[in-house]
């Protein structure tokens, strides 16, 4: 590490020769290796995964790469682990593909890898294989990361929109909008004084609790891009049902509320990276909330609404003054590259 301390990523670091192997051995392995990575095999053989696994991949291009509450490295671990968790799978192994822009400071890369390794350790996953490429300056924005993940499924449940019925109850695991708002505020164009941290975290500990509900647990989703509004619309469309939520029951931090008013961005469409939306059977919300309260990360979970009808496919929000309106699917007008 010390040799590269003041250096930047050069095209030669992606050439496959000595420079490449120095970057991998000096910078990447010390952060990410927990055993399996040390041999640098072309592929890794994995044992003990049981009969059912979940498998996912996602790419991360967030700008800026460092933001309050994390960086692109921790995000790349959490995002992939959370996609696995939403299938009810325990995140177990991940791969890491790094695409580095020529000129990225090695110290920045190291900070990213450090957060990545911390996130992986906390989430209980091991980085078992990886790849590094370098592209000429201007061909990427500092760093893009792809992570794939494999998770073990230790239960028989089929979580999905098919299971959702009228009367089911909807829960969100905590205040929404923090990640999206933190990213937007940390973009150089804005200079406001808010203390909003990204909520980037692994949600598996919440899912692990909720699995105790057995078949009463119907559906899980992490409301990332498009926020809560997108996830609720996905539920409505996926199950052809009407979803109703109460505006006043949706938890939103005061700072997020204030920032959203200034930026003109609805916290319900702002991204989350450590939240979970769960649909549970009728009358099961309280039990679910009790289970979730055992984990710090979901100690502020709230029931926000119900599945009200199968005669319409839409999301209705009942407002703070007793009115109602449609909560539409976000139209993609938010600032880009939040994850």
């Amino acid at each position: 590490m010390s040799n590269d301390k003041d250096l930047r990523v050069l095209l030669g670091h992606g050439g496959g020769g000595k420079m490449s192997s120095r970057l991998v051995k000096n910078t990447i392995l010390p952060r990410l290796n927990r055993g399996k990575l040390s041999l640098l095999p072309d592929s890794i053989v994995l044992d003990g995964l049981g009969d059912r696994i979940a498998y996912t991949t996602d790419s991360y291009t967030v700008s800026p790469i460092f933001f309050p509450g994390g960086n692109i490295g921790s995000l790349a671990i959490h995002g992939t682990c959370n996609d696995l968790a939403c299938s009810g799978a325990r995140p177990t192994f991940v791969s890491v593909g790094l695409i580095l822009e020529e000129g990225l400071a090695i110290t920045e890369l190291d900070q990213i890898l450090e957060e990545m390794s911390k996130a992986a350790d906390e989430a209980g996953v091991e980085v078992v294989t990886g790849d590094t490429k370098v592209v000429p300056k201007g061909s990427a924005d500092k760093i893009f990361i792809n992570t794939s993940g494999i998770g073990r499924i230790d239960h028989e449940l089929n979580l999905g929109p098919d299971a959702i019925e009228v009367g089911d109850e909807i829960i969100v695991s905590g205040p929404v909008g923090n990640h999206g708002m933190a990213i937007m505020l940390s973009r150089a164009e804005f200079s406001f004084d808010f203390d909003i941290q990204s909520d980037s975290a692994s949600i598996w500990p919440i899912v692990e609790q909720l699995l105790e509900l057995g078949p009463h647990l119907k559906f899980l989703r992490d409301p990332t891009r498009g926020g809560l509004a997108a996830t609720l619309n996905e539920i409505a469309a996926g199950s052809s049902v009407e979803v109703q939520i109460d505006e006043t029951s949706v938890p939103i931090d005061e700072q997020v509320k204030a920032a959203s008013e200034i930026l003109g961005i609805d916290p319900l469409v702002a991204a989350n990276e450590g939240k979970l939306v769960a649909v549970v059977g009728k009358g099961m919300a309280q039990k679910a909330l009790d289970l979730m309260s055992r984990r710090q990360i979901s100690s502020n979970a709230k029931m926000i609404g119900t599945i009200t009808s199968d005669l319409a496919t839409r999301v209705i929000i009942n407002t703070r003054i007793g009115g109602s309106r449609i909560l539409a699917e976000p139209s993609g007008e938010l600032l880009p590259r939040i994850c």
Partner: protein, 360 residues
């Protein structure tokens, strides 16, 4: 006020509005002039609470919506010809022009910066000293004072590469055109604009056109109180101007800001989408600020722009058509792919209808 009390107060107001309007002789139609009110009315679900006897229609108070397509063309042409850095409020960048939006211009390599305050232009002009920096001057009396302040600063710092392309609007000339419409029972008057121009300045609505007007804030209860007061006044045929937003709006307005506008700008005729040229409804530069006028200093030929003849934004801005009655609404014209400015702007009436719908 906590949420429960807010809901109780809202319920009471809604009942009052229903009681008064049901005993009135005719249905009432009020125009909310300001785009921020339009959004708040939809966002709070207030429309779902009003009785059929009370209708709210949106007016010309969304700056993006009343800006002519040709203005976008003008900006892009300046950007191209002079390799200028165009600086704008975010709302404008997706408005379609004849040869694409500012966002498209940026994707083709044009320089377009989004700011929240025009004062940022000073820094940008210093950094980009080799090229002209052009602020797209769109907006009502809410934005013109800060742009005036920016120009004053630019003058004192002798910034030679900073320009403003003016498309400013003032609200009174437009209201003078809309106020005689017989189907309008009164006006829900803007909050932010009124903070500058003052509630007294609307007195002519009552005196000349016999229409009531109420200045309102932007919280759900602010709007409900103002609508209640409008319904009361209209049912009694009482033409009065009320200020229901006293915590922000003074009857005389913000005199310092008014002076600032008058120091830098003078009235001129300007083109409004939907309303045509309204005499004295725009702002142009006084001496010694004329050197900042991008329209006269960075001269380009701007061909006349053609609007899609099926686009009904012009009718929507004047409150004579509801968005869902436009043939393009929600089909060819959506926020992702807008035809007219009322669908682009986050404060546009069509965008509000599209985004929030109405539940009956």
């Amino acid at each position: 006020m906590n949420i429960d009390n807010q809901a109780i107060a809202a319920k009471k107001l809604v009942q009052e509005i229903r009681d008064i309007s049901s005993s009135a002789s005719a249905p009432m139609k009020f125009m909310e002039v300001c785009g921020t009110h339009t959004m708040a009315i939809h966002e709070t679900g207030l429309k779902s609470l009003l009785s059929p006897a009370v209708t709210l229609v949106s007016g010309p108070g969304c700056p993006v919506c009343v800006t002519e397509k040709q203005f976008i063309d003008h900006a892009v042409l300046i950007g191209k010809k002079f390799d200028a850095c165009l600086v704008t409020f975010g709302d404008l960048i997706r408005v379609p022009g004849s040869f694409g939006s500012l966002a498209q211009f940026r994707s083709e390599g044009g320089s377009v910066r989004v700011v929240y305050s025009p004062l940022d232009c000073i820094e940008i002009s210093k950094k980009e000293s080799s090229k002209p920096v052009v602020f797209l001057g769109v907006g009502f009396e809410t934005t013109s004072p800060t742009i005036a302040a920016t120009l004053r600063m630019a003058l004192s710092e002798n910034l030679a590469n900073f320009f403003v392309l003016p498309a400013f609007k003032t609200i009174h000339p437009a209201l003078n055109i809309l106020a005689p419409k017989p189907d309008l029972s009164g006006f829900l008057l803007p909050g932010h604009v009124s903070a500058i121009i003052g509630s007294d300045s609307y007195q002519y609505l009552a005196d000349k056109y016999n229409k009531p007007g109420v200045v309102a804030g932007f919280e759900a209860l602010d709007i409900l109180i103002a609508v209640r007061d409008l319904v009361k006044l209209a049912s009694r045929k009482e033409a009065k101007i009320l200020n229901d937003y006293k915590r922000v709006v003074r009857n005389s307005g913000n005199v310092a800001a008014q002076n600032l506008i008058n120091e830098v700008f003078e009235p001129c005729d300007t083109q409004w989408r939907g309303l045509g040229i309204i005499p004295g409804s725009g702002l142009t530069f006084r001496e010694p600020y004329q050197g900042f006028n991008a329209a006269t200093k960075l001269v380009v030929d701007v061909p006349p722009a053609k609007d899609d003849p099926r686009c009904r934004c012009a009718n929507i801005i004047t409150g004579s058509l509801q968005p869902d009655k436009c043939g393009l609404f929600g089909k060819e014209c959506t926020p992702e792919d807008p035809v007219g400015p009322c669908m682009v702007s986050s404060e546009g009436t069509c965008a509000a209808y599209y985004k929030y719908g109405t539940v009956k």
